[in-house]
Amino acid sequence: MTAIETTDLTKRYGSTTAVAGLDLAVPEGVVYGFLGPNGAGKTTTMRMLTSLTRPSNGSARVAGVPVDDRERLIERVGYLPEEPPLYTELTAREQLTYVAGLRGLPEEATRQRIDELLDRLDLTEDADRRIDAYSKGMRQKTAFVQSLLHDPDVLLLDEPTSGLDPRAARTIREMIDDLTDAGTTVLLSTHILPVVDEHADTVGVLYDGRLVAEGPPGDLKRQADTGAGDGAGGADERTLEDVFLEVTSEDPAADEATVEGVTDAR
């Protein structure tokens, strides 16, 4: 079954088009790496998929629920925006208890789950300190726990490892793998391309509001135009960064270089 499905999804702000006719089909239980330069429309897309922004045109379903049906949708999705959605006056434990309460989760089981997740992310020591005394990484970890507290079917993560130290970043990546193993679909937006390379089953590159390339990371690297077949290097030597730079280049010559054979959405 398809976890995320969009058809001609479009968002316009006045005369500016943030997302232009996006067609996505993300199957269940995978990590979908959502790439694109700053301002490409990734956050807007995520907001539309979580019902926080209304599409100007087109349609989208997440976990089988249309995005205009917020009541049903929010039971099935978790969302970690780029800025951690936290009340800085609360402690992490109070914040998580609060959000669990808003989601009507059973108290005793939730308490255990909060303790486990805090422990896994090395936050137990600081769980009773006010969030306004937290570092960026600690806030990020708290918000990450918050986003998956209700065990969502689809998890949308906007730069989840931003501000994290290497150990915490690794833990988050491992947790993402665990989630997908358990059947959760993860839409992962990040600028840290090796993370996507390692963990994503499929990568979609958004540029200027359009999906310009899509496919498994290995296929994208293998079939990228630049240097392919000239003996200069194969997929093993080429990186996702090369692909990204290629498909998001404004250079007309490079623009013609396409990631053939995969899904070139341009």
Binding site: Y13, R47, T50, S51, L52, T53, R54, R70, E71, I74, E75, V77, Y79, P81, E83, P84, P85, L86, Y87, T88, E89, L90, T91, R93, E94, T97, Y98, V99, G101, L102, R103, G104, E107, R111, A127, D128, R129, R130, D132, A133, Q146
Partner: protein
């Protein structure tokens, strides 16, 4: 870097800081509107003063400058010192982009930048009024020679006050940075300083008498008067004027050096504040089975369904731990208090008589405003999490209303009844006032979020140097005050003074409302005459309504309107919450 450039650099920093202040103000429509209102009122007073001086200034009998006059100036100088110290201690104790500045220019330039920026800000507010009033005085007394001395006196008044204010403010900040006990109790110390100064200032202004004022005339800073009147028909003391001129310049220069030394100690020294903040950030609720409920205690929030209960708990905890977010309430409360004292002092009524009708409107107003006047803005970064939670619109409306209702309703009703019983009112009137509080408070806690969500504000403003808050929009505050205040006031007035209310309503409709139509009729607009006549008749009819009818109709109708508004507001919050997007 040549040290001789610090003056130029300091003034450049001051200009830039001032320009940033202006730009920030341009982007803050609410603050701009507030300043506009004050500027219009203050401007009218200045214009009236200018006209009076121009008309009658030459009739002021010439004479010697007395110590009472000097003392009055000294009181204003002390006030300027306090404001300057308060601003320096809380907000301008360091420059923005401190590391950039301190690695680019000498510390003295940064110190001068801070001082000159504050000087420019003060001049932006006061230069025109002072120029108008001073210019009028120069013209009316025919003493052009006075002008340069007047300008020098004003600048010295400002500079000497600013410099000592900054020294005191930075010193206070340094004590907070160095001493744990001061850092741990800085709010208490700040409050004490404000209470002591404001108490002293109000005492001096109202109860000091001429003897104490004259005593303050011996403060050297009051001698700016002697400098200001040189060349005018008034005779000051020339030695004092000279001492002020020389001493003021030396004081300012010396003060700059002290600000620089304090700056070095503050900006390059260690601080205990971070350690204290980290300790104070640790909250002792983690061991509790329900940490959020433990954090709310001892506030007795009634147990209701979980999402609504959690929203109520969060509102209480956030308000308690970040009381600065309620600072927008200070101005209306102070204005109300000052109006009350003024009314009582002018003899319109005693405080005991005025308190009950004031309390019956003000406390429900507060109950709604504290927790619900900008709910979406109060969410801050957490708004996406709340919107994508399972809380329904009804949960959200109930959760927002619950704290104000739980805390506000008993206080509003009890305070209304207590002040009513202490005032000159009959038991029936006190009971009727109690019912008004009973109706207004529940209405307030749903009307406030409805208007706050209709006119949300998301832009934060800075309170002090390190915390940002998001106050409600001016539109929400004004509409909320009118929606609650007008019916509440009418109901209270009809209860306590039905005859007076009838007279006021009659005058309002028959005269005030009819006035513009009468004017239009005078200009030949035909239908306006009929409307003016009709309004006059309605006014006359109101005047003929029996007092008892006014009392009961004036009581029941506004309360009924408030109830209907509350029902609408509850539905509006419910709908808006579920339909809200981040577009």
């Amino acid at each position: 870097m040549p040290a001789s450039g610090w003056g130029r650099q300091g003034l450049a920093i001051g200009r830039l800081e001032f320009r940033r202040t202006v730009r920030a103000l341009r982007g803050d429509s609410a603050r701009l509107a507030l300043i506009g209102v004050v500027a219009v009122l203050f401007g009218l007073m200045v214009l009236a003063g200018t006209w009076l001086i121009l008309e009658f200034g030459n009739q002021i009998p010439a004479g010697d400058v007395s110590n009472v006059v000097r003392g009055s100036v000294a009181i204003q100088w002390l006030f300027a010192v306090f404001i300057s110290a308060q601003r320096a201690g809380s907000r301008h104790h360091s420059i923005d982009q401190e590391s950039l500045m301190l690695l680019t220019v000498p510390v003295r330039a940064v110190a001068l930048g801070l001082l000159s920026a504050e000087c420019f800000r003060a001049l932006a507010y006061f230069a025109v009024p002072v120029a108008l009033l001073g210019g009028a005085f120069v013209v009316s007394t025919g003493s052009p020679l006075m002008a340069p001395f007047l300008v020098a006196a004003v600048l010295l008044f400002l500079a000497t006050a600013l410099v000592i204010g900054f020294v005191l403010g930075l010193l206070a900040k340094l004590l907070v940075a160095r001493y744990r006990v001061v850092a741990e109790n800085k709010s208490v110390f700040s409050l004490l300083a404000v209470v002591v100064f404001v108490g002293g200032y109000v005492g001096l202004q109202n109860f000091g008498g001429q003897g104490v004022t004259a005593l303050l005339g011996w403060l050297p800073f009051s001698w700016v008067v002697d400098l200001a009147v040189i060349g005018s028909p008034f005779a000051g003391s020339l030695p004092r004027a000279a001492a002020m001129l020389v001493g003021g310049v030396a004081w300012t220069a010396g003060g700059l050096l002290v600000v620089e030394r304090l700056g070095v100690a503050l900006w390059f020294g260690d601080t205990v504040e971070d350690a204290v903040a980290a300790e104070q950030a640790r909250i002792d609720t983690g061991a509790a089975a329900d940490p959020l409920a433990a954090a709310v205690a001892p506030v007795p929030l009634p147990a209701i369904g979980q999402p609504a209960h959690r929203i109520a708990q969060r509102s209480v905890v956030v308000a308690r731990r970040n009381p600065q977010r309620l600072s927008f309430l200070v101005l209306p409360v102070v204005l109300l208090g000052v109006s009350l004292v003024n009314v009582a002092q002018t003899g319109v009524g005693s405080i005991l008589a005025l308190l009950p009708p004031l309390v019956v409107v003000a406390l429900p107003w507060l109950a709604g405003a504290v927790f619900g006047l900008n709910p979406l803005g109060d969410e801050g970064a957490a708004l996406p999490a709340t919107l994508t939670s399972l809380a329904s619109g009804r949960d959200y409306a109930v959760g927002l209303a619950l704290p104000g209702l739980t805390l506000g309703l008993p206080v509003a009703v009890l305070a209304t009844v207590a002040t009513g019983l202490a005032g000159p009112y009959a038991p029936l009137e006190v009971a009727m006032l109690g019912v008004i509080a009973l109706v207004l408070t529940p209405a307030a806690v749903v009307i406030a979020p409805a208007l706050g969500m209709a006119f949300p504000r998301y832009d934060p403003v800075r309170v002090g140097s390190d915390r940002e808050i998001v106050p409600p929009s001016l539109s929400a505050v004004v509409l909320y005050s009118l929606t609650l205040g007008v019916p509440g006031t009418v109901a209270a007035a009809a209860t306590l003074a039905p005859a007076g209310t009838r007279g006021f309503l009659s005058l309002f409709v028959g005269v005030l409302l009819a006035l513009p139509f009468g004017f239009l009729a005078g200009q030949g607009v035909g239908p306006a005459r009929e409307i003016a006549t009709w309004l006059g008749q309605v006014g006359a009819e109101i005047a003929a309504v029996p007092v008892q009818t006014v009392r009961w109709a004036g009581y029941v109708l506004p309360l009924a309107v408030v109830c209907l508004l509350a029902i609408w507001a509850f539905g509006a919050v419910t709908r808006r919450f579920r339909g809200h997007t981040l577009d």
